[in-house]
Structures are given as C-alpha cells and as structure tokens.
C-alpha cells in the first residue's frame, strides 16, 4: 500500500517490469489465438468483399485505355485548343494514323472506340471503319494524313471527335461519374445532358423512393406479426415463426414468379375481382410490370428481415410495462403509444436499415415484375455489366449507390443513434 502511493511513475509488476508490459505479455497468447481463429473469415472478407469494392471504386475512375492505345495522338493533341473550333494540325493526324496502325495490328482499336463511344455516340464506328484500313497505312508515304483520314471517315473533320479524344486522354477520369449523374463534359466543362438523355438521376430517385415505400409497408405489416410472435404462447408462436421463415426455404425466383401469376391481368387476383364484379372484364387492373408490382413483391420478399429484428426486441419487453401503464391510468392506446412503442424503436430501426439497404440494391425481383416503370438502378448496373459492357459506368453507379447508403446510415446515426439499433 505505502509504496504504491509513493510511486509517481508507471505501476510496476512484482519483478520490476512495468505492469502494462507485463499484462500485454500475459495476454499476447490469447490475442494471437483470437486472431488465428478469425483469420479465415478475415481473409474471406478481404478477398470477397473489400477487394471487389476497392476494384469497383477504381474502375469507376480508371481511363488508361486512351493513353495506352493512342500515346502519340494524346501527346500531339496536348497543344490543341479545343475551344478554337478549328481542326488540329497535320502532326496530330499523322500521330493518330501511326497510333491506329499499331492499334489495328494489336486489335485494340475497337476497344478504344467503344470506350469513347460512351462519351460521344458515333466514335465507335469512326474507330472501327478507320481501323479496318489502318493496317495498310504506309506511314512514310501515305500522307498528308489529314486528308487521308477524313477521306476514310468524314467524322475526322469534326472538332468534337478530337475534343472527345483530348478530354478523355488522362488516365483518370470523372466521365463515368458525370455520366452516372446525367452530366457530360461539354465544350465549356461539365454540363447537364439534354432532358431526353437523363435517366440515372431519375432512376436513383425512384429507387430511393420505392425503397422507402417498401420499408414503410414492411414496418406496417411486420409490426403486428412481430407482436404476436412475442406474445403468443410458445407453441403457437413457434408455428407462426415457421410461417415467417417459410419464404426463406423457397427460391427467390419461385416467389417472384408466383407474384407474376397472382398479379397479371389474366391472373388470380384479377379473376377474383372480375368474378365478384368489382372490376369489369375489359377493365382488368394493371398491377404488375409497374411500380405497384415491384412494391408488392419486394415487400413480401423482404418482410422476414423486418419481422425478425422487431421480434427479438419485442421479446425482451416484459408485459408488466403495459400493465404498469394501465394501472397508472393509461388507456390501451396510450399505454401502447407512450410505453410499448418507444421501446420497440430499436427493432424498427434495425429492421428498416436492413430492409432499406437490401431493397436499394435489389435486382432480380424488379427485373421480373417491374416492367419499365418499376425497375431499380441496380437493373441499370446489371445492364451495363452484362449487356453494354460499360463497366466503368456500372462501377460509378455502384459507387454512388454505396455513397447514398453510407450517407443515409450517417443521417440515421445522427437522428436516431446507431446505438439504438438492436438485432437481438
């Protein structure tokens, strides 16, 4: 006791080493073992989660293809003033001819054409047509190249073509991101695309709005079910729980297709409505291949993700709270609203985050039942990944989606507090 109070420096262990170091040493084995135990998972997450995301973020700005395929032209174009409205000098055309000859031999000219076509439709055919002849270019005698190239494809006489090449020559570009928010690099820097070409922002807004609606309908439908689950006698609660979990044992595709059968114009619901006379046979409701269809099907599919967190929170709320509220003079409604409901907010919060984040990135169901009006931004991402092969744009859209989710998460933390989220 006495030497403890006298000491001013760090506390020492019995053998004179500082207590902190001695404690660390004692715990090192435990820490190592813990690290070893989680290392397979850590490795898996690195490979399957963090690396793909990093790769996606990189792809959304990566633009090496232009400078790698057309190195001489990029260099020659550096001095050209695109705002002048004049065509570049002969030297630029000569450099382009040399680059195209190399590219055509390496068969990379179509790739750079495709890349530039994203920014300026028509570029793809310019490169394809010119590249076909470029193999036979005689760099010594073929000149002057300005006339030669324009003869092959008159688009070479369009300053816009050259401006596009110049704009997208740096190895890193904001072009995909601008594209993803319906903008483009015009002659005076970034500008909005014409109204008719704007798709992604509207799609993003629609995705967010529909995800909110889906989350809200999930809350409304899940709350009573979770309450029943938490308050029924064990036997009945178990049965109900099986019913809640049943969808997890059925293929997502099957469930979505089932909604198609139910909702289509010759489907079960329309048939019943016609049969009981609520709807006339020639005015069957259109309740699929639109937003309504997507919302119904996705609410159904995501419902368990709302019920389970709510249930696990409600389970921990003893019924005596409600009794106490009533004994203090509260009506059933007041007791519920002032005492029970506030205690279930962590469950609603957890469920909502889960459902909203799942909904915002959902793609199979909207693709199957959404038609054109009920698809999500993820369907566009899928389109660019697998059909148009514009991975840069897909990555930029994905990155924006990720950013939106993170911002919402941050806002949720500010408003509700992430400590208030309970999954069990």
């Amino acid at each position: 006791m006495s030497d403890m109070t006298e000491m001013s420096g760090p506390v020492l262990a019995a053998d004179g080493t500082p207590l902190k170091r001695s404690l660390n040493k004692a715990l090192r084995r435990q820490k190592m073992r813990a690290l070893l135990l989680i290392s397979p998972l850590l490795l898996f997450i690195m490979v399957s989660f963090i690396l793909p995301i990093a790769d996606m973020l990189y792809r959304s700005v990566e633009n090496k293809i232009v400078i790698e395929t057309l190195p001489r032209s990029v260099k020659a174009l550096a001095d050209w003033d695109s705002a002048s409205g004049e065509l570049p000098q002969e030297a630029v055309y000569a450099a382009m001819a040399a680059d195209l000859k190399d590219a055509a031999e390496a068969k990379t000219h179509t790739k750079v054409g495709t890349r530039l076509n994203y920014e300026n439709p028509g570029m793809s055919s310019v490169f394809r047509k010119t590249g076909r002849k470029a193999k036979k270019f005689d760099l010594e005698t073929g000149g002057p190249w300005k006339e030669a190239l324009i003869e092959i494809n008159e688009d070479w006489a369009d300053p816009d073509v050259w401006r596009t090449i110049q704009t997208y020559s740096p190895p890193v570009t904001a072009g995909y991101f601008l594209n993803a928010v319906d903008m483009r690099v015009g002659s005076d820097g970034a500008e909005m695309r014409p109204e008719s070409e704007q798709i992604y922002m509207n799609l993003l807004k629609r995705t967010l709005w529909m995800s909110l609606l889906i989350t809200f309908s999930c809350i409304v439908l899940a709350y009573p079910v979770a309450w029943l689950l938490a308050n029924l006698p064990t036997r009945q609660a178990n049965l109900l729980m099986i019913l809640v979990l049943l969808p997890f044992w059925t293929s997502l595709l099957v469930r979505t297709s089932a909604w198609k059968i139910l909702l289509q114009q010759q489907g079960v619901i329309n048939d019943i409505l016609v049969w009981i006379g609520l709807v006339s046979d020639d005015a069957r409701l259109v309740i699929i291949n639109n937003q309504f269809g997507t919302i119904v099907a996705m609410t159904h599919i995501l419902l368990p993700f709302m019920i389970l967190p709510m249930y696990s929170v409600m389970q921990t709320i003893p019924p005596t709270y409600l009794r106490a509220a009533k004994s203090l003079g509260a009506t059933d409604w007041t007791a519920f609203w002032r005492v029970y409901f506030p205690q279930t907010i962590p469950g609603i919060g957890a469920g909502s985050i889960l459902v909203f984040i799942l909904a915002i990135g959902y793609y199979i169901t909207p693709a199957l039942v959404g038609g054109t009006k009920g698809t999500f931004i993820s369907n566009q991402i899928a389109f660019h990944i697998s059909t148009s092969l514009n991975w840069g744009l897909a990555s930029a859209l994905g990155a924006i989606l990720l950013a939106v989710v993170l911002v919402l998460y941050w806002a949720y933390d500010k408003i509700v507090g992430i400590d208030n989220v309970k999954l069990g």
Partner: protein
C-alpha cells in the same frame, strides 16, 4: 372469519372464483373485506392464488364468478385504467425510456393535469421517498433500492386510495428489504391509504401488516392480525407456514372445556388446547412454538404432563440458543432459549423433560 365478508369494507371480494383453464379453480370461493386505511397482506406459497387475487383486483384478470367491490361499487367490468388503483410491480416496471421524473409524471399526464401542478406533485412524491435529486436520471442508472422507491412514489403520485404491491421487495438484499419494509408501512399509514400487499415472505407479512390473509390452495386459511396469526393459528397449515413450529401427532383422548389430553403415537401424554378437534378419538397434529417450550422444571406449571426428550444438537446463534431434540420419535423438535446469563447450555446426549402451558399447545387438524 375467513368465510364471511362484511359488505361495508372498502375492498370486498364476494364469493370470487377464478379458473384459467375451465378445469381447475385457482381461487376457490374467496371472501375478503379490507377496511379503509388498512394494510392487508396476502401471504402464501407460490401457486396459492394470492397473486391472481391481486391481479383480479387490479383488473388484469377477470373473476370467473363472484363480485369484487371497491368503495361499494362492483368493479368487475371496469377496465384497469379507470380503477384508479396504484400498483407496485415485482420488478418495478419503471419505463426504461423515460427519466424518473417522466415516469412519475406519466400518470398525471394521462389524467390531463396541468404542467405546473404536475411538476409540483412529482417533486412532492420524489421528496416523499427522499429521491428529490434523482428526477433527471434514467431507471437503469439507479440501484435496486432506489428503483423500488421510485416505483413506490410513482404508484402514489396520483393519490390513489388503494395501492397494490406484488412482492415489491423480492429483489432486494436483506438489509435494504428491512429498511424498505419500515418505509413502506410508515408511508402507507401516514398517507392513510389502503394497501393490499402480496408476499411469500412471512417475516415481511408479520412486520408490516394490520391484517394477514394466509392463502393456500386457492382459499384463505386464516385472516388475522400478525400476533394472533402467530400465536393462535387456526389450522396446521397456518401453524407450519408462519414461523417455526414443532408438530407432534397423536389421538385426542379427553376433552374438558378449554383443554384436552392427547396421547402421542408412542404412548406419551400431553396437555393441549383443542382448536379444531371436537371429539375423543380424533387424530390431531399438536403445534407448539419453539420459544414456548420449557425444560427448567422449576418454571413448569404444576400438574401438567411433561415429555421425555433427548438433546441431539446445540446450536449457538448469538442472541439465542437453538437446540434440536428427539421427542416422541420426532428428531426435529426445536427449542429456542434466550442467551441470558443464567441460561444453561444443553449438551448433546443429555436427557431432559419438557413441558409447556396448555394454552401454548394447540391441537389442530391432522
């Protein structure tokens, strides 16, 4: 006494029965009357129906048959929130998402009492339990005893005439429990409120109550003030449930007025007061409190029967000595003696003779 309910009580149970499953009765033909300002404790083992009675009174359970009246009005069909009964729950049931002050203000808010009056009442109620400085805390930041006090003041803040308490001290440690027992009785009497208290702790029941209703098997076995309950139990269940008790079994051989003679199974004979034995030849359980047994021959009343006993164990407990004897084949016969300067300490193996006043020894049902 337990079979009749006077109609002028503040709280009256009139032939109340309760069944949960339609096959067995949890509460069987309950008649009980609690006077205004009375502190009544319902005491009994778990499953005896005492909590069910309390819940019926609070309105959380409905009586299967019979009437419950509060201040003369039948309340069977009045929902709990309109009964105006304060209640303290076993685990306090303080709302975790509200501060202490908000918890107390809740019953006043739902009664639409103005803000300034509400604040004054909350403050008064907190001061009443010496918790005036804790209004801004959350229940989770309080100790068990503090939570208990808040629960109590929340049940009292809207000035109910009747307060129900469902084992409110069960979760506290011994010392705190004893302190709270005192505080609760003190408050209840000071405010003049009628209290119905449920517990399975007989010490709590004896120290706090004006009257104790001993429940067993869905019936009130005895309803009496604590001293009567302890000294004059009316049946063997009450005798054994309340306090420590020695029982000896035998047959009544003679009844003469206020006393009777009982022959124990091993042939020995003792004097007792007949309580619920009425004829010679009936089997009986004789009940005698450990502190009423005398082994000092000089202090024994002349002419009463004595029993032979062998000392099996002597336990020193500080203020008292507890000695275990073998009496008439019963090896768990306990006597308690005060640790006085002239008290002799019995040795195991010692042969003694024990006796008692016939009024302290009660011949009950077998």
């Amino acid at each position: 006494m337990a079979d009749t309910a006077s109609n002028d009580g503040f709280v009256v149970f009139d032939r109340v029965q309760k069944s949960y499953d339609g096959e067995t009765l949890v509460v069987k033909d309950l008649n009980l009357s609690v006077a205004k300002g009375e502190f009544l404790t319902m005491l009994g083992p778990s499953g005896s129906g005492k909590t069910t009675c309390l819940m019926m009174l609070a309105g959380f359970e409905t009586a299967t048959h019979g009437d419950i009246r509060l201040g003369g009005q039948p309340i069977n069909n009045i929902p709990p929130h309109k009964r105006g009964i304060g209640m303290v729950f076993q685990n306090y049931a303080l709302f975790p998402h509200m501060t202490v002050a908000e918890n107390l203000s809740f019953p006043l808010e739902v009664r639409k009492i103005g803000k300034s009056e509400r604040e004054a009442k909350v403050k008064r109620a907190l001061d009443m339990v010496q918790m005036g400085d804790f209004g801004g805390r959350r229940p989770a930041q309080l100790s068990g005893g503090q939570q208990q006090r808040i629960a109590l003041s929340r049940a009292l803040v809207f000035e109910p005439e009747l307060v129900l308490m469902d084992e409110p001290l069960g979760a506290l440690d011994k010392q705190l429990r004893e302190q709270m027992q005192f505080e609760i009785t003190h408050l209840a009497h000071e405010l003049g409120i009628t209290t119905v208290y449920v517990t399975h702790d007989q010490t709590e029941a004896l120290t706090m109550s004006d009257n104790v209703a001993v429940f067993d098997d869905g019936r009130i076995q005895q309803l009496a003030p604590p001293d009567q309950l302890y000294e004059r139990p009316e049946n063997s269940f009450v005798a054994q449930f309340i306090g420590e008790n020695n029982t000896l079994e035998g047959v009544v051989t003679e009844i003469k007025g206020e006393t009777c003679i009982v022959q124990l199974d091993d042939g020995e004979i003792l004097d007792a007061t007949p309580i619920n034995v009425s004829k010679v030849g009936e089997r009986t359980q004789v009940s005698i409190r450990p502190e009423r047994v005398e082994y000092n021959k000089e202090r024994l009343q002349k002419g009463v029967h004595t029993l032979k006993a062998e000392v099996l164990e002597f336990i020193y407990m500080g203020d008292i000595f507890r000695t275990r004897l073998r009496v008439a084949g019963n090896e768990d016969f306990i006597i308690k003696t005060r640790n006085a300067p002239d008290q002799d300490r019995l040795q195991p193996g010692q042969q003694i003779e024990i006796g008692w006043l016939p009024t302290d020894c009660r011949a009950l049902d077998a």
